[in-house]
């Protein structure tokens, strides 16, 4: 940050006033009306440029969301009702939400921590310079590899005849005899972590790079141990970004459909999978608006997560920029 603050710079003559002084001569009365019309025309033209984009997003984002919201509160004869939404809090659907939230939270934290440690290793671990871009690319691959192929890969790894399962069996650890299954929530979580920790690496790396070496050195110089540095300086600075990233990971896991679907054949009790089941007609529900309510509930949760993330990112930017 060079120079003086606004306070110190108060004495400096404003550059703006001199510029304005050299503009146009006094306007004539007719000019003002003409200029006003021209400027409102200009404004219309300006906004016209972004109209296609706004129209597109309105049709494919705004409209579906509003539809869902409206339909969630509509009864079978079109009247306003809480019935659909209240069903979400009961029985199967409620437990679908609970399971979804649990899995998302656990994999967000587990993936988040793993990703954090790896990212920190790459940024501050005094490793060769090529590690950073290499890690970035691999993380991009892993984060994008989610879905059907990932599910198959994990079945090939920890399925009943998986490679690691066989290795563990050979060593005496018959995991399937002890209740483990790749098709369980635990197995699903392990699969989720595969794309969660790379996402964390990608999100948190810029913030870790923003942790200036000068801060650590200054803390050292003033007598702080590494632990003290982390407690007083490092973690407080990093916390908003960390929390924000974890929350984003939560939203990311919550939205997952293909991975759990492929792992469970469509039978696992997660919100996205239930919605898909209703949509494909695999499950008959008392009223069709239930699917809408489920989807709307999903949007509310993910929207909350994304909003929290955005807010925390802004907070983090204050210190790390």
């Amino acid at each position: 940050m060079r120079g003086e603050t606004p306070a110190e710079a108060g004495e400096r003559p404003s550059a703006h006033s001199s510029r304005r002084a050299t503009t146009v001569a006094a306007p004539e009365p007719g000019d003002r009306v003409r200029r006003a019309r021209k400027s409102s025309n200009a404004r219309i033209v300006r906004w016209a440029g972004v109209l296609p984009f706004f129209a597109y997003t309105a049709v494919f984002l705004l409209f579906p969301t509003v539809e869902l919201m409206v339909k969630s509160f509509k009864g079978s004869s079109g009247q306003f009702t809480w019935a659909n939404v209240s069903q979400l809090f009961q029985g199967d659907f409620a437990s679908a939400y609970v399971t979804s939230i649990e899995v998302s939270a656990i994999t967000a934290v587990a993936g988040g921590l793993l990703g954090l440690f790896i990212a920190y290793a790459a940024v501050h671990g005094r490793l060769p310079a090529f590690i950073r871009p290499l890690l970035s690319t691999f993380s991009g691959v892993a984060a994008n590899f989610a879905g059907i192929p990932l599910a198959f890969a994990f079945i090939a790894t920890l399925g009943p005849t998986g490679v690691i399962t066989s290795v563990l069996n050979g060593a005496g650890f018959h995991i399937y005899n002890h209740g483990f299954s790749i098709f369980s929530i635990t197995g699903l979580s392990l699969t989720y972590v595969y794309f969660q920790f790379p996402l964390m690496i990608l999100i948190i790396s810029p913030s870790l790079e923003g942790l200036r070496a000068e801060w650590r050195e200054a803390a050292q110089n003033l007598g702080a141990t590494p632990a003290q540095y982390w407690r007083h300086v490092g973690l407080p600075i990093l916390l908003p970004a960390l929390l924000g990233a974890t929350v984003l990971l939560f939203g990311n896991a919550f939205s997952a459909y293909a991975t759990p679907y492929a792992l469970s054949g469509g039978y696992i009790n997660l919100v996205p999978v239930r919605i898909g089941a209703i949509l494909s007609g695999n499950v008959i529900v008392p009223n069709p608006q239930l699917g809408d309510a489920l989807a709307f509930g999903m949007i509310v949760i993910v929207a909350a997560a994304v909003s929290v993330y955005v807010l925390l990112q802004r907070r983090a930017a204050k210190w790390l920029q």
Partner: protein
Amino acid sequence: MATLELKQVRKQFGDVAALRDMTLEVASGEFVSLLGPSGCGKTTALRIVAGFEFPDSGELLVDGRDITGVVANKRNMGMVFQAYSLFPNMTARDNVAYGLRVRGTDKAARQRQAEELLELVGLSDQAKRYPRQLSGGQQQRVALARALAIEPAVLLLDEPLSALDAKVRVTLRQEIRQIQKRLGTTTLYVTHDQEEALSISDRVAVMSAGVLEQVGKPAEIYRDPRTPFVAEFVGTMNRLDGQVAGAESVVVGAGTVRLQIEADHGHPIGAKVLVLIRPESVTLKEAVNGEAAEGALKGRVITHTFLGPVTRLGLDSDLGPLVVDVPGVEALSLASGTGVTLSVDPAGVHLLSAG
């Protein structure tokens, strides 16, 4: 306050020798600047003293005690970094108090001390502000207060002013010096700005490529450079080839022009030397009728540059190309091609062996 000693410190980075056998003593309460261009090793030396790097060989002594192997956070040295070193999540006061906090001082006491130091650097009213709300100059003042809060044995400053505006630099360097004098803290200051080093140091150590070229008082360094590098790095210097012709004269250039010099130059007759003349040691007179006076040195104005306090003229002369500083603005009116008579102050001529 402590004495600081570097003894034959060596540091290699890969196949680059950052420091070669550096030996330097800083007396208690002394302000020594390490001056040199980028890459000369001055920052490496400072970081070794601070404990962020360890030397490959050599010793570091504070008050006679060997601290070469001591970890950085146990050295009790205060360091002011070039920029961005204030903790962004703490107010100015908390930043300054941090050193005391990790030493276990209780909250009230350390806040009081922090406020005292902030007053010392003139920032009492900014105590509750965060670094991002402060200007560059203010941030560096807080950084200074923070370094001084722990009452360090040695104060280290790594180009603290280079990231600041020119005017702020000039004021702030004086303030740093005044505070240092008041507290009597032993100080090691790194900079590439020779004006800065000359104006505030007790002694200046000029470095180049990992080697100490010359260490001495600012006036000595300026008037009596011992190596060509120092001569050229510090201030502007005219550099001519010559040969000693007599006890008080030296022949410059192709062999016809003689310059009078001071008698005790210490070079044998016939020795090939570098003749160094500061621009301000040459006086000019406009040649009368375009013709120079008989027997005097002649020259012709090629360029002139207005520098504020002086006008710098580039001349072609009997001695070869010369840069001459003339006080005031009258010299600006000397058009290109004007003939002038030169006279060189013998006390302003220095000789260095050319071999």
